[in-house]
Symmetry: C2
Subunit: 161 residues, 2 copies
Protein backbone atom coordinates (compact mmCIF):
# COMPACT_ATOMS: atom_id res chain seq x y z
CA UNK A 1 0.00 0.00 0.00
CA UNK A 2 0.85 3.67 -0.22
CA UNK A 3 3.18 4.57 2.64
CA UNK A 4 4.03 8.16 1.86
CA UNK A 5 2.36 11.07 3.59
CA UNK A 6 0.04 12.42 0.97
CA UNK A 7 -1.80 15.21 2.80
CA UNK A 8 0.05 18.38 3.72
CA UNK A 9 -0.84 20.72 6.56
CA UNK A 10 -2.94 23.76 5.71
CA UNK A 11 -0.74 26.71 6.55
CA UNK A 12 -1.76 29.76 4.49
CA UNK A 13 -4.54 30.81 2.11
CA UNK A 14 -1.90 31.33 -0.57
CA UNK A 15 -0.62 27.77 -0.13
CA UNK A 16 -4.14 26.30 -0.25
CA UNK A 17 -5.38 28.32 -3.23
CA UNK A 18 -2.36 29.08 -5.36
CA UNK A 19 0.24 26.37 -4.82
CA UNK A 20 0.78 22.75 -5.87
CA UNK A 21 0.49 21.60 -2.24
CA UNK A 22 -2.18 18.95 -1.64
CA UNK A 23 -3.83 20.02 1.63
CA UNK A 24 -7.48 18.91 1.57
CA UNK A 25 -9.87 20.08 4.29
CA UNK A 26 -12.06 17.55 6.06
CA UNK A 27 -15.19 18.87 7.79
CA UNK A 28 -16.28 18.45 11.43
CA UNK A 29 -17.31 14.87 10.58
CA UNK A 30 -13.85 14.22 9.03
CA UNK A 31 -15.40 14.08 5.56
CA UNK A 32 -14.86 15.88 2.26
CA UNK A 33 -17.66 16.09 -0.35
CA UNK A 34 -17.04 14.51 -3.75
CA UNK A 35 -18.62 15.31 -7.11
CA UNK A 36 -18.46 12.42 -9.59
CA UNK A 37 -19.04 13.04 -13.30
CA UNK A 38 -18.88 10.85 -16.38
CA UNK A 39 -15.53 11.41 -18.11
CA UNK A 40 -16.97 11.43 -21.62
CA UNK A 41 -20.39 13.06 -21.30
CA UNK A 42 -19.67 15.37 -18.36
CA UNK A 43 -22.94 14.20 -16.79
CA UNK A 44 -23.05 14.35 -12.99
CA UNK A 45 -23.37 10.76 -11.81
CA UNK A 46 -23.44 11.11 -8.04
CA UNK A 47 -22.31 13.11 -5.05
CA UNK A 48 -20.68 11.35 -2.12
CA UNK A 49 -18.21 11.78 0.71
CA UNK A 50 -14.71 10.54 1.52
CA UNK A 51 -12.80 10.39 4.76
CA UNK A 52 -8.99 10.49 4.74
CA UNK A 53 -8.68 6.75 4.27
CA UNK A 54 -11.18 6.69 1.37
CA UNK A 55 -9.38 9.55 -0.40
CA UNK A 56 -6.00 7.89 0.07
CA UNK A 57 -7.32 4.55 -1.23
CA UNK A 58 -8.94 6.26 -4.22
CA UNK A 59 -5.62 7.90 -5.09
CA UNK A 60 -3.67 4.65 -4.72
CA UNK A 61 -6.17 2.44 -6.51
CA UNK A 62 -7.47 4.65 -9.32
CA UNK A 63 -11.00 3.49 -8.49
CA UNK A 64 -13.55 5.46 -6.47
CA UNK A 65 -13.67 4.59 -2.78
CA UNK A 66 -16.19 6.63 -0.78
CA UNK A 67 -17.22 6.71 2.87
CA UNK A 68 -20.78 5.54 3.38
CA UNK A 69 -22.47 7.75 5.94
CA UNK A 70 -25.44 5.37 6.26
CA UNK A 71 -23.29 2.28 6.78
CA UNK A 72 -20.43 4.15 8.52
CA UNK A 73 -17.77 2.31 6.57
CA UNK A 74 -15.47 2.59 3.55
CA UNK A 75 -17.38 1.95 0.36
CA UNK A 76 -15.47 0.73 -2.68
CA UNK A 77 -18.08 1.68 -5.24
CA UNK A 78 -19.07 -1.27 -7.42
CA UNK A 79 -17.72 -4.01 -5.14
CA UNK A 80 -21.28 -5.35 -4.72
CA UNK A 81 -22.91 -4.20 -7.95
CA UNK A 82 -19.91 -4.60 -10.27
CA UNK A 83 -20.36 -0.97 -11.32
CA UNK A 84 -16.76 0.04 -10.55
CA UNK A 85 -15.83 3.69 -11.23
CA UNK A 86 -12.45 3.83 -12.97
CA UNK A 87 -10.85 7.20 -12.40
CA UNK A 88 -9.64 9.23 -15.36
CA UNK A 89 -8.94 12.44 -13.46
CA UNK A 90 -9.08 13.78 -9.89
CA UNK A 91 -9.37 17.50 -9.25
CA UNK A 92 -9.56 19.59 -6.11
CA UNK A 93 -11.20 22.98 -5.73
CA UNK A 94 -9.79 26.40 -4.79
CA UNK A 95 -10.01 26.09 -0.99
CA UNK A 96 -9.43 22.32 -1.19
CA UNK A 97 -12.65 21.30 0.54
CA UNK A 98 -14.23 19.43 -2.40
CA UNK A 99 -13.04 16.67 -4.74
CA UNK A 100 -14.15 16.26 -8.37
CA UNK A 101 -13.77 12.76 -9.82
CA UNK A 102 -14.02 12.20 -13.58
CA UNK A 103 -14.73 8.51 -14.13
CA UNK A 104 -15.68 5.76 -16.53
CA UNK A 105 -18.30 3.42 -15.08
CA UNK A 106 -18.15 -0.28 -15.77
CA UNK A 107 -21.72 -1.31 -16.65
CA UNK A 108 -22.72 2.28 -17.41
CA UNK A 109 -24.71 2.95 -14.25
CA UNK A 110 -23.89 4.70 -10.97
CA UNK A 111 -27.25 4.85 -9.22
CA UNK A 112 -28.55 2.32 -6.71
CA UNK A 113 -32.08 2.88 -8.04
CA UNK A 114 -30.92 1.47 -11.39
CA UNK A 115 -30.54 4.59 -13.49
CA UNK A 116 -27.36 5.69 -15.29
CA UNK A 117 -26.98 8.81 -13.19
CA UNK A 118 -28.35 9.51 -9.71
CA UNK A 119 -29.56 12.81 -11.17
CA UNK A 120 -32.35 11.36 -13.31
CA UNK A 121 -34.97 14.00 -12.51
CA UNK A 122 -35.29 17.65 -13.57
CA UNK A 123 -36.64 20.35 -11.24
CA UNK A 124 -38.67 22.92 -13.21
CA UNK A 125 -37.87 26.60 -12.55
CA UNK A 126 -38.48 30.21 -13.59
CA UNK A 127 -41.11 30.77 -16.28
CA UNK A 128 -41.97 27.08 -16.44
CA UNK A 129 -43.59 27.18 -13.02
CA UNK A 130 -45.22 30.59 -13.27
CA UNK A 131 -48.82 29.43 -13.44
CA UNK A 132 -48.33 26.10 -11.71
CA UNK A 133 -49.54 25.44 -8.19
CA UNK A 134 -47.01 22.70 -7.57
CA UNK A 135 -43.54 21.63 -8.73
CA UNK A 136 -43.54 18.34 -10.63
CA UNK A 137 -40.22 16.60 -11.29
CA UNK A 138 -39.56 15.34 -14.81
CA UNK A 139 -37.73 12.06 -15.47
CA UNK A 140 -34.77 12.24 -17.89
CA UNK A 141 -34.20 8.50 -18.16
CA UNK A 142 -37.07 6.34 -19.31
CA UNK A 143 -35.53 2.97 -18.64
CA UNK A 144 -33.38 1.64 -15.84
CA UNK A 145 -29.98 0.15 -16.74
CA UNK A 146 -30.54 -2.62 -14.20
CA UNK A 147 -33.13 -3.86 -11.74
CA UNK A 148 -31.86 -3.08 -8.22
CA UNK A 149 -33.53 -6.23 -6.85
CA UNK A 150 -31.35 -8.39 -9.11
CA UNK A 151 -28.15 -6.66 -8.06
CA UNK A 152 -28.52 -5.77 -4.41
CA UNK A 153 -30.90 -8.55 -3.32
CA UNK A 154 -31.43 -8.10 0.44
CA UNK A 155 -28.94 -5.26 0.75
CA UNK A 156 -30.56 -2.37 2.64
CA UNK A 157 -31.62 0.66 0.60
CA UNK A 158 -29.32 3.56 1.61
CA UNK A 159 -32.00 6.25 1.16
CA UNK A 160 -33.04 7.81 4.47
CA UNK A 161 -36.23 9.82 4.94
CA UNK B 1 -42.39 36.34 -5.16
CA UNK B 2 -43.22 32.67 -5.28
CA UNK B 3 -45.99 31.97 -2.79
CA UNK B 4 -46.74 28.34 -3.44
CA UNK B 5 -45.43 25.57 -1.25
CA UNK B 6 -42.68 24.05 -3.32
CA UNK B 7 -41.24 21.41 -1.01
CA UNK B 8 -43.24 18.30 -0.22
CA UNK B 9 -42.91 16.17 2.90
CA UNK B 10 -40.71 13.09 2.67
CA UNK B 11 -43.05 10.20 3.29
CA UNK B 12 -41.69 7.02 1.70
CA UNK B 13 -38.54 5.82 -0.07
CA UNK B 14 -40.66 5.09 -3.13
CA UNK B 15 -41.98 8.68 -3.20
CA UNK B 16 -38.48 10.14 -2.79
CA UNK B 17 -36.73 7.91 -5.35
CA UNK B 18 -39.33 6.98 -7.92
CA UNK B 19 -41.96 9.72 -8.05
CA UNK B 20 -42.28 13.25 -9.43
CA UNK B 21 -42.65 14.65 -5.91
CA UNK B 22 -40.10 17.37 -5.04
CA UNK B 23 -39.07 16.55 -1.45
CA UNK B 24 -35.47 17.66 -0.92
CA UNK B 25 -33.62 16.71 2.25
CA UNK B 26 -31.76 19.37 4.19
CA UNK B 27 -29.00 18.20 6.56
CA UNK B 28 -28.58 18.88 10.29
CA UNK B 29 -27.39 22.41 9.39
CA UNK B 30 -30.50 22.92 7.20
CA UNK B 31 -28.34 22.82 4.07
CA UNK B 32 -28.30 20.78 0.86
CA UNK B 33 -25.08 20.40 -1.18
CA UNK B 34 -25.07 21.73 -4.75
CA UNK B 35 -22.91 20.69 -7.70
CA UNK B 36 -22.60 23.39 -10.37
CA UNK B 37 -21.37 22.51 -13.86
CA UNK B 38 -20.96 24.47 -17.08
CA UNK B 39 -23.95 23.78 -19.33
CA UNK B 40 -21.91 23.51 -22.52
CA UNK B 41 -18.61 21.92 -21.47
CA UNK B 42 -19.86 19.81 -18.54
CA UNK B 43 -16.93 21.12 -16.51
CA UNK B 44 -17.50 21.24 -12.74
CA UNK B 45 -17.37 24.91 -11.79
CA UNK B 46 -17.98 24.84 -8.05
CA UNK B 47 -19.64 23.06 -5.17
CA UNK B 48 -21.77 25.01 -2.73
CA UNK B 49 -24.70 24.77 -0.36
CA UNK B 50 -28.28 26.06 -0.28
CA UNK B 51 -30.74 26.43 2.55
CA UNK B 52 -34.49 26.30 1.83
CA UNK B 53 -34.67 30.00 1.05
CA UNK B 54 -31.70 29.86 -1.34
CA UNK B 55 -33.16 26.87 -3.20
CA UNK B 56 -36.56 28.54 -3.45
CA UNK B 57 -35.00 31.79 -4.74
CA UNK B 58 -32.88 29.87 -7.27
CA UNK B 59 -36.01 28.15 -8.60
CA UNK B 60 -37.97 31.39 -8.83
CA UNK B 61 -35.18 33.50 -10.28
CA UNK B 62 -33.41 31.10 -12.65
CA UNK B 63 -30.07 32.34 -11.28
CA UNK B 64 -27.94 30.53 -8.70
CA UNK B 65 -28.48 31.68 -5.12
CA UNK B 66 -26.38 29.80 -2.56
CA UNK B 67 -26.03 29.98 1.20
CA UNK B 68 -22.60 31.21 2.27
CA UNK B 69 -21.43 29.21 5.26
CA UNK B 70 -18.55 31.61 5.93
CA UNK B 71 -20.73 34.72 5.83
CA UNK B 72 -23.87 32.96 7.16
CA UNK B 73 -26.12 34.64 4.62
CA UNK B 74 -27.84 34.14 1.27
CA UNK B 75 -25.37 34.55 -1.57
CA UNK B 76 -26.71 35.54 -4.97
CA UNK B 77 -23.67 34.41 -6.96
CA UNK B 78 -22.31 37.21 -9.13
CA UNK B 79 -24.02 40.10 -7.34
CA UNK B 80 -20.60 41.48 -6.37
CA UNK B 81 -18.42 40.11 -9.16
CA UNK B 82 -20.96 40.31 -12.01
CA UNK B 83 -20.33 36.64 -12.71
CA UNK B 84 -24.02 35.65 -12.51
CA UNK B 85 -24.83 31.96 -13.09
CA UNK B 86 -27.84 31.67 -15.39
CA UNK B 87 -29.54 28.36 -14.88
CA UNK B 88 -30.22 26.11 -17.85
CA UNK B 89 -31.28 23.03 -15.88
CA UNK B 90 -31.78 21.97 -12.27
CA UNK B 91 -31.64 18.30 -11.30
CA UNK B 92 -32.04 16.44 -8.04
CA UNK B 93 -30.53 13.10 -7.13
CA UNK B 94 -32.11 9.75 -6.21
CA UNK B 95 -32.57 10.33 -2.47
CA UNK B 96 -33.08 14.07 -3.03
CA UNK B 97 -30.21 15.24 -0.84
CA UNK B 98 -28.12 16.89 -3.57
CA UNK B 99 -28.85 19.48 -6.28
CA UNK B 100 -27.11 19.64 -9.67
CA UNK B 101 -27.19 23.02 -11.42
CA UNK B 102 -26.25 23.29 -15.09
CA UNK B 103 -25.42 26.93 -15.78
CA UNK B 104 -24.04 29.50 -18.17
CA UNK B 105 -21.73 31.96 -16.45
CA UNK B 106 -21.72 35.60 -17.40
CA UNK B 107 -18.05 36.58 -17.70
CA UNK B 108 -16.95 32.96 -18.00
CA UNK B 109 -15.58 32.52 -14.49
CA UNK B 110 -16.97 31.02 -11.30
CA UNK B 111 -14.00 31.02 -8.97
CA UNK B 112 -13.15 33.75 -6.46
CA UNK B 113 -9.44 33.11 -7.08
CA UNK B 114 -9.98 34.27 -10.68
CA UNK B 115 -9.98 31.00 -12.60
CA UNK B 116 -12.79 29.75 -14.84
CA UNK B 117 -13.57 26.78 -12.63
CA UNK B 118 -12.85 26.35 -8.91
CA UNK B 119 -11.41 22.96 -9.89
CA UNK B 120 -8.28 24.28 -11.58
CA UNK B 121 -5.86 21.72 -10.14
CA UNK B 122 -5.39 18.01 -10.84
CA UNK B 123 -4.48 15.50 -8.13
CA UNK B 124 -2.14 12.80 -9.52
CA UNK B 125 -3.09 9.18 -8.75
CA UNK B 126 -2.31 5.50 -9.41
CA UNK B 127 0.74 4.76 -11.54
CA UNK B 128 1.66 8.44 -11.81
CA UNK B 129 2.63 8.60 -8.15
CA UNK B 130 4.26 5.19 -7.86
CA UNK B 131 7.84 6.37 -7.45
CA UNK B 132 7.05 9.79 -6.07
CA UNK B 133 7.62 10.71 -2.46
CA UNK B 134 5.05 13.49 -2.51
CA UNK B 135 1.85 14.45 -4.34
CA UNK B 136 2.21 17.59 -6.45
CA UNK B 137 -0.94 19.26 -7.82
CA UNK B 138 -0.95 20.27 -11.48
CA UNK B 139 -2.60 23.46 -12.69
CA UNK B 140 -5.08 23.09 -15.59
CA UNK B 141 -5.58 26.79 -16.23
CA UNK B 142 -2.54 28.88 -17.00
CA UNK B 143 -4.16 32.27 -16.86
CA UNK B 144 -6.76 33.80 -14.60
CA UNK B 145 -9.93 35.18 -16.18
CA UNK B 146 -9.82 38.13 -13.80
CA UNK B 147 -7.70 39.56 -11.00
CA UNK B 148 -9.59 39.02 -7.73
CA UNK B 149 -8.18 42.27 -6.32
CA UNK B 150 -9.89 44.24 -9.07
CA UNK B 151 -13.24 42.58 -8.50
CA UNK B 152 -13.54 41.96 -4.79
CA UNK B 153 -11.38 44.82 -3.49
CA UNK B 154 -11.54 44.66 0.32
CA UNK B 155 -14.05 41.83 0.40
CA UNK B 156 -12.83 39.11 2.77
CA UNK B 157 -11.43 35.95 1.16
CA UNK B 158 -13.90 33.10 1.93
CA UNK B 159 -11.20 30.40 2.18
CA UNK B 160 -10.77 29.10 5.73
CA UNK B 161 -7.74 27.16 6.93
Amino acid sequence: MFKKKIFEKRKTVQQVEESTSFAPKFDSNELIPVITTDYKSGEALMQGYMNKEALQKTIELGEAVYYSRSRKTLWHKGKISGLIQTIKEIRIDDDQDCIWLRVNVRGGSSCHVGYRSCFYRIVPFGKKIKNKTKLVLKFTEKKKVFNPKDIYKDFQNPTKL
